[in-house]
C-alpha cells in the first residue's frame, strides 16, 4: 500500500511551506486538577455528601445504644456498635400487644407488592399500547381525565373508593388493594407506556397488521419484547411506590396483613417514654431496604429506560 504521507507530499509538492509552520503539537495538555475539574468534581462531591448524610445518620444511629444517642451528636460514629436495635426493630418491637417487630410486615408487603406490581403494569401497558397504536374515538378524552386524575390528592379519593370497593364486594381483600394500587398507578404508567409505544416506528406496527396479526398478537409478539426498557422503569416505580405506600395499606388491610410501612409507623409512633431513635432508624432502614436494593441494582436500567422514551412528550 502506498504511503499516504508521501502521496500527499507528491501531489502537493510543497515542502517549502512546511518550515514556517510552527507551534504546539499533539494533544492539548490537560492537568487532572484543572480549574474545570476541581469545580466539577468538587460540586458533585459536596452535593453527594448532602445526599448521603441522611443515610449515614440513619445507619450510625441505628448502631448506637440509647445512652450514646442522648449524649453524643447524631453525626458521630458509634463508640460501641450494637446490633440490638436491628434485632428489636425486626423481631421484638411492640405495637399494642403485638411484639414481633417488622418481621410480620415483610412478607405481607411482598404478598401485596408482587401481584399489585404485575397487575398494575399489565393493565397500564395494554392501555398505553391501545392509546398509542389503536386510537379510537374518545380514547384521548379518557386519557386526559386520567392525567388530570394524577393531581388529585389520594385522600380525596379514599371515600369514593371505599364505597366503590364495598359495592363490588372487594373491600378488605387483597384484590381490593391490588385494584387500588392499579388505579393510582395508572395515570403515570399509562403516560409512560403510551409515550414509549408511540416512539416505536409505525412501520413495524403496520407490517405486523399486514401480516395478519391482531391487537393481542401484536402486543405480545412485537411490542412486549421491544418494551423492556420501559417495563424496567415501570416495575421500579411501582415496586417503590407500592412498597412505600402507607395510606392504602393501613385503610385497606387488617392487622394480620399489615404491610411493613404500617408496622413501621406503628413502631415509630408507639412511643414508650422516650423515642428509641436507634430502633426507629433500624426499622426505617429495614423498611426502605427493598426499594433501596432495587435502585442500587437497577438504577442504570432505570436511567436508560427513562431515556428510552419516558421523557418524550
Amino acid at each position: 500500500m502506498s504511503n499516504p504521507g508521501t502521496l500527499a507530499a507528491a501531489v502537493v509538492g510543497a515542502d517549502a511551506f512546511r518550515a514556517p509552520l510552527e507551534g504546539p503539537r499533539g494533544a492539548r495538555p490537560r492537568r487532572a486538577l484543572s480549574r474545570r475539574n476541581i469545580f466539577l468534581y468538587g460540586t458533585l462531591i459536596v452535593v453527594a455528601l448532602y445526599y448521603l448524610v441522611p443515610l449515614y445518620v440513619m445507619i450510625v444511629t441505628s448502631l448506637k445504644g440509647m445512652p450514646e444517642i442522648r449524649l453524643g451528636n447524631i453525626f458521630a460514629p458509634p463508640v460501641e456498635i450494637t446490633f440490638e436495635p436491628w434485632v428489636k426493630a425486626w423481631a421484638t418491637a411492640c405495637t399494642g400487644l403485638n411484639c414481633d417487630g417488622l418481621s410480620r410486615g415483610f412478607w405481607n408487603s411482598v404478598r401485596i407488592t408482587v401481584p399489585s406490581v404485575i397487575f398494575s403494569i399489565a393493565v397500564a401497558s395494554v392501555n398505553g399500547y391501545a392509546l398509542a397504536n389503536w386510537r379510537f374515538k374518545g380514547a384521548d378524552t379518557f386519557f386526559t381525565i386520567l392525567i388530570v386524575g394524577a393531581f388529585i390528592p389520594y385522600q380525596v379519593m379514599i371515600y369514593p373508593i371505599v364505597i366503590l370497593l364495598r359495592e363490588i364486594g372487594l373491600y378488605g381483600t387483597l384484590w381490593g388493594l391490588i385494584i387500588v394500587h392499579s388505579i393510582f398507578g395508572m395515570p403515570i404508567l399509562t403516560l409512560l407506556f403510551r409515550n414509549y409505544f408511540a416512539s416505536v416506528p409505525e412501520e413495524l406496527f403496520k407490517a405486523a397488521r399486514v401480516d395478519g396479526a391482531g391487537f393481542w398478537r401484536i402486543y405480545f409478539v412485537i411490542m412486549l419484547p421491544m418494551a423492556l426498557p420501559i417495563f424496567v422503569v415501570a416495575i421500579i416505580l411501582q415496586i417503590t411506590g407500592i412498597w412505600n405506600d402507607f395510606l392504602f395499606g393501613v385503610i385497606y388491610t387488617k392487622p394480620d396483613t399489615y404491610p411493613m410501612t404500617v408496622q413501621l409507623n406503628n413502631i415509630v409512633n408507639s412511643v414508650q417514654g422516650v423515642k428509641e431513635y436507634n430502633v426507629n432508624m433500624a426499622a426505617t432502614i429495614l423498611t426502605g431496604l427493598v426499594p433501596l436494593i432495587v435502585y442500587f441494582v437497577s438504577g442504570k436500567l432505570f436511567v436508560r429506560g427513562i431515556a428510552a422514551g419516558a421523557v418524550k412528550g
Partner: protein, 299 residues
C-alpha cells in the same frame, strides 16, 4: 369479469377496534368511575353538611364560606404556594444542574447518579423521620455546630414557625431531585450531538448554549417533569405528617392535610370535600387546558 357479490356492509363503528376498546376498559372505568365519578361525587357532597357519613343534606355554600374564613386553610394555601413555587424552581434548577454536571463525561457517573437517586426509593415517611432527626435542635445540625464552638448558632427550622416550611422543603428536595435529575439527564442525552458542535463552532459559551438552545429544546422533558413534580406538590401530605405533624402551631399545615383531617379526624366530610374541591378547581384551572393541548388534540 363482474365485480359483485355479497354487498359488504360497513361494520358498525362501535365494533371497530373492538380489541382495543376491550383492552381499554380498565382505563375507561378508572377514568369514568374513579377519577371523574369520584370527583363529581366529592363536589356534590361538598354542598352538604355531611359529618361522619356522607348524607345529601344540602347547605349551599356554607362549607366554602367556612373554609375561606378558616385561618388554618389560609395558612395551608399559603404554605402550599411557598412550598410549591420553591420546590418547583429548586427541583428543576438543582435537577438540571446535577444532570448537566453528570453530562460532562465525568468519571464515576454511575456512582454519583445512584447517590442522587437513592432517596427517591425511600418513602416520604422515612424521609420525614430522618430529616426530623437531623434538624432536631438537640441532636442534629444545630448541636453539631454548637459543639464545634459556635455557641449562638441557631438552625431550628422544625420548631420555628417562620421557617418551618423551609425545613420541609429541604427534606422534600432531598427526596425528589434525584428523579428530576434522571429525567433531565435523559433529556440531555436526547439532544443531537451536532447541536453542541454547531454551538461550539458558532463560539457560543456553554452556559448560553444551555440557556438559549438546549433548555428550550428540552421542552417535552420539562413538561413531563413538571407534571410529576406538580402532582407530587399538590398531594404533599405524608412528609409534613412525618416531619412536623403540621406544627409548630399549625405553621406547616398543607391543604391535603386539611382535607384529611376534616374528613376523618373532625368527622366533617362536607368541610373536607369543600377543601378538596377547591384543590381540584385550582389544579383543573392549571392542568386541564394544558392536558387538552398536550394530549387531547394531537392526532
Amino acid at each position: 369479469m363482474s365485480i359483485s357479490g355479497n354487498e359488504v356492509r360497513r361494520p358498525s363503528r362501535l365494533f371497530r377496534n373492538l380489541s382495543a376498546k376491550i383492552a381499554s376498559i380498565p382505563m375507561i372505568l378508572t377514568a369514568l368511575f374513579v377519577f371523574l365519578g369520584g370527583t363529581l361525587w366529592t363536589v356534590l357532597y361538598s354542598f352538604t353538611n355531611s359529618k361522619l357519613l356522607p348524607r345529601l343534606k344540602f347547605v349551599g355554600l356554607d362549607q366554602y364560606e367556612r373554609l375561606w374564613s378558616a385561618p388554618r386553610w389560609l395558612t395551608s394555601i399559603e404554605n402550599l404556594l411557598v412550598y410549591g413555587v420553591l420546590s418547583l424552581i429548586f427541583s428543576l434548577v438543582i435537577g438540571f444542574l446535577l444532570a448537566a454536571l453528570l453530562d460532562q463525561k465525568i468519571r464515576f457517573e454511575g456512582v454519583f447518579r445512584t447517590i442522587f437517586l437513592y432517596p427517591f426509593a425511600l418513602s416520604f415517611v422515612v424521609t420525614g423521620l430522618t430529616w426530623q432527626w437531623i434538624l432536631n435542635p438537640d441532636f442534629g445540625v444545630q448541636r453539631l455546630v454548637r459543639n464545634a464552638g459556635w455557641e449562638s448558632f441557631t438552625f431550628n427550622p422544625l420548631y420555628d414557625q417562620r421557617i418551618v416550611i423551609y425545613g420541609i422543603l429541604i427534606a422534600g428536595l432531598w427526596q425528589g431531585t434525584g428523579l428530576v435529575m434522571c429525567l433531565m439527564l435523559a433529556g440531555l442525552r436526547g439532544i443531537d450531538e451536532d447541536i453542541w458542535k454547531a454551538a461550539r463552532v458558532d463560539g457560543i459559551p456553554m452556559w448560553k448554549t444551555y440557556m438559549f438552545i438546549v433548555i428550550p429544546m428540552m421542552r417535552p422533558v420539562f413538561i413531563t417533569t413538571l407534571v410529576i413534580i406538580a402532582s407530587g406538590i399538590v398531594r404533599l401530605y405524608d412528609l409534613v405528617v412525618a416531619q412536623t405533624s403540621g406544627g409548630p402551631g399549625g405553621a406547616s399545615e398543607v391543604p391535603a392535610k386539611y382535607v384529611y383531617d376534616y374528613m376523618f379526624l373532625a368527622q366533617n366530610l362536607g368541610q373536607g370535600f369543600a377543601a378538596s374541591t377547591m384543590m381540584l378547581v385550582t389544579v383543573a384551572i392549571v392542568v386541564v387546558p394544558w392536558a387538552y393541548l398536550e394530549f387531547g388534540r394531537r392526532r
